[in-house]
Symmetry: C4
Subunit: 288 residues, 4 copies
């Protein structure tokens, strides 16, 4: 949370802030672990509560647990508001909104019961916990994936625009050919069919029944074969590049200043000078 400068400078607010927002102390780390378990447990309560058989048997218990978790999260939310320097800034930040959204549904469900299930939005709070716990190895792996996604974003965007154009044209074509009699009641339905088909999901709720429709479907799938492979190819290439970008070692030859020498190398492969063996420790391996 560096750069936020939202940390109070003294007193109980500072202690509370250290526990709730940070994970460097034992208490702070324990708090985050309990939070992680509580979020998962409260979502599980909602998920189980939606099963008619379980609801019939344990409705009171589930109702109690649900309110227990909601009250706990409410107290936590108020504590967060209380200990930050600029409560409004926190309340309007992404994390503040997610925190609020994770307690509101229970209260609103008293008025509008349909909102009850939205409690699952709580799962989004896991993002914070993961970020705070700084499970360092996993964070580094996640950052490789994020970096790959970041570098691939434009390629995937270009690909999605291309897919959208193709999908609208094929969906329209199939709606004309198959018609309402075979379930293609409108172009949006045709587009839905085209997306389900091109992604190879293929539910089978809508299928071409005319010979012409089947022929076009077969051609679309065959020609689309190479195209479907593009996002996978993009991600594969980007993850490969992300992994390669990080030098496997930072061992540097003190003589010719080249780096990236293998871990088992004892002499520089460029100038033949001896490499320092003391660089051979674990932290020398930066990435994977």
């Amino acid at each position: 949370m560096q750069g936020w400068s939202d940390q109070p400078t003294y007193g109980w607010r500072k202690r509370l802030y250290t526990i709730i927002f940070e994970a460097d102390t034992t208490a702070g780390r324990r708090f985050d672990e309990i939070l992680l378990v509580a979020i998962c447990a409260s979502v599980l309560v909602v998920v189980l509560g939606s099963v008619p058989a379980i609801q019939a048997r344990a409705s009171t218990l589930l109702w109690l647990l649900e309110w227990l978790f909601t009250l706990a999260f409410t107290v936590e939310y108020i504590a967060r508001l209380a200990c930050v320097r600029h409560p409004w800034r926190y309340a309007l930040s992404l994390y503040g909104l997610v925190d609020l959204a994770s307690i509101l549904p229970t209260y609103l469900a008293i008025l509008v019961p349909e909102l009850y299930y939205l409690i699952d939005v709580r799962l989004l709070r896991l993002m914070r916990v993961f970020r705070i716990l700084r499970l360092s190895a996993y964070v580094s792996e996640a950052s490789v994936l994020r970096e790959a996604l970041y570098h691939a974003r434009r390629k995937i965007f270009v690909f999605l625009i291309f897919v959208c154009i193709v999908v609208v044209i094929i969906g329209t074509l199939m709606t004309i050919i198959e018609g309402p009699a075979h379930g293609f009641t409108s172009i949006p339905v045709g587009i839905y069919w085209a997306i389900v088909t091109l992604s190879t999901t293929g539910y089978g709720d809508l299928v071409p029944r005319t010979p012409l429709g089947q022929a076009i479907t077969a051609c679309v799938i065959l020609l689309g074969y190479g195209v479907i492979a593009i996002p996978t190819g993009i991600m594969g290439a980007e993850i490969s590049a992300s992994m390669r970008r990080r030098p496997v070692t930072t061992r540097t030859c003190t003589h010719c200043m080249t780096e990236g020498h293998d871990l088992d190398a004892r002499f520089c492969k460029h100038c033949g000078q001896a490499l320092s063996p003391h660089q051979f420790d674990e932290p020398a391996i930066r990435s994977r």
Copy 2:
């Protein structure tokens, strides 16, 4: 549009040409942006108009909007014809034909209502707008994908021929084994089933019901596992290669000012001068 030499040299035609065909001036850029929005909006009108519920309520509005867009595109088409030097050359070019095809269906639909939906062909006009707007970062990413597809074209062609042979033989085999009783009424239907199965789409409208048919299906899928992976492998390898082909470094020769020299190069490959080894530091590696 370099090399076309279709640009008039003076007067209102030159001004119109600059606005309609080019995107270097403010007016030209604005025109293209409006065109992009108009194309998307007009396709949306057609798509929404195909939904019975919306058609029932807003048919007059949709009808009006549709004719408005069509008239606007017609005026634009005539303007394009008017301002180019060789109208026929434009009219018969790919873009000219797409432009014509995007206004014709509305007029023809007066006589043949079925043609109405073909208005969606308008989406193809987006290609031109993208090309003119030269969203440079995206164009460069798209060119990586296009290059990868170009290099992969023969491998994918070989793969498709192989798939076609396999699909015809398996489709024939399953038609013999399952027969019309289980929906395999003819070999083309069997081929359609084989394509839907091998691409892992698996609609479920046609499924093997005899034990022998199920055994063959299981074998085909299992053996086809590695084969299905080929196009993805091809695209991944080609995109990787495309990305690698572009200069990764900004090592610049101080003598001839060319860049993109390999990291292990000691002499400029263009002019033979020694490269500065001090450029060999981290920031020299451009990310991509």
Copy 3:
């Protein structure tokens, strides 16, 4: 066909051999082109003949065409037998057996009509034509794919054995859980379901209906996610390796004897000497 040494040394047999088996002369090349078209056309006749509607209308025409093709292929088969030095060696070779298998079904269908559709086996003859025509660019691409498959064969074999074990155990488990009431009538059916599911084909003819079955299916798919990706990863890595293995250029520096210099390089990047510009022609690019 080097190394076969089956070529007759003189007379009409040598002339016939040159036309039928080779593609170096104009006549030989034309013969192979006609053969390619004839094979495709004859398979098309069989495929179309299986459609009841077409069969009803054009049965005589299709019957005539079918016999025409069969007689032509029979004459060709006899000609092949006549012009090779060792007829039995040809007849028992893979290509000889395929050639025989492509004419037999028509004759046998007089006795056993079911065999009629096996005429599609003719498609396998395309392999020979492709090989003889030596469409060199495509053959080289195909060899990259073949090489990748060859290098990947053991990895794919290990993967398939692993998949087989998993599929038998999951299939057994689901047969016990779901039982005959939900269509899982026996373990082979359960294995068929497991293969269809793990390959993400998902026909939907057999689906888990019990909560436990659905939970296991969800876990299997989730955990199988990474596993499903393995063959694609294997093929991608192998195709990448196949492409990298071929040096992009064979440009060699005559001074320090290093090779693999870029096509646009004019000086050796290792010793700074000028590279010979005469190596800059097409054949210098070996692979892609």
Copy 4:
């Protein structure tokens, strides 16, 4: 089995141990081959025995075979217990438990017939046989795959957590939108649907029927396109990296006789002696 030190030192127990646990002698190798065939055959007996038609005809034969295999495996299990130094250590090891689990079901099925099919667990014993037979080429390929999976484990774990969060939220959303009328009877069912959809399996037993549900499904699939590609990208990149990590060259230092030096290395990285530049020719690149 180095490091186990469970090998008896003399007498018949040592001879038995050599045959049963090792594969270095002819007898030991033959024993493992027979075991491999027996395991596959006994699983085949169970699988075939579950087919009603086969069960009806050959129930006695299958029953006999099944007891024959079980008794043989029981004798083998007792022999294993008898010849190791520390029977309990073996009995409680992973392999010991698998060995026990592969004979128990037949005996227990006398009391609880449902357990009968669990005999398929025997397939897990194949792991041991493969390990002992040391089919070296395959073991090395398997180790590339295992290494890739090992390096990818954290990336795949991060990916699975991400997928789990997405799947719970989408499943909840669709349960609210579609409701029990369209089969989404509870959130777990919705999550099951989300997993089946995102993995592109798409059974079709549960499909969105409301326009809003179909629109969300289409968006989820479209946006999920790039995401679905991630595990494949991970595996591809890791397998590529695994393959690259192994020495690709046979460049040998003539001084310290180590091999696997980089192609651009000029000095041995192990002893600092200059590498011979004449080894820099084509055959120096081992294929892999």
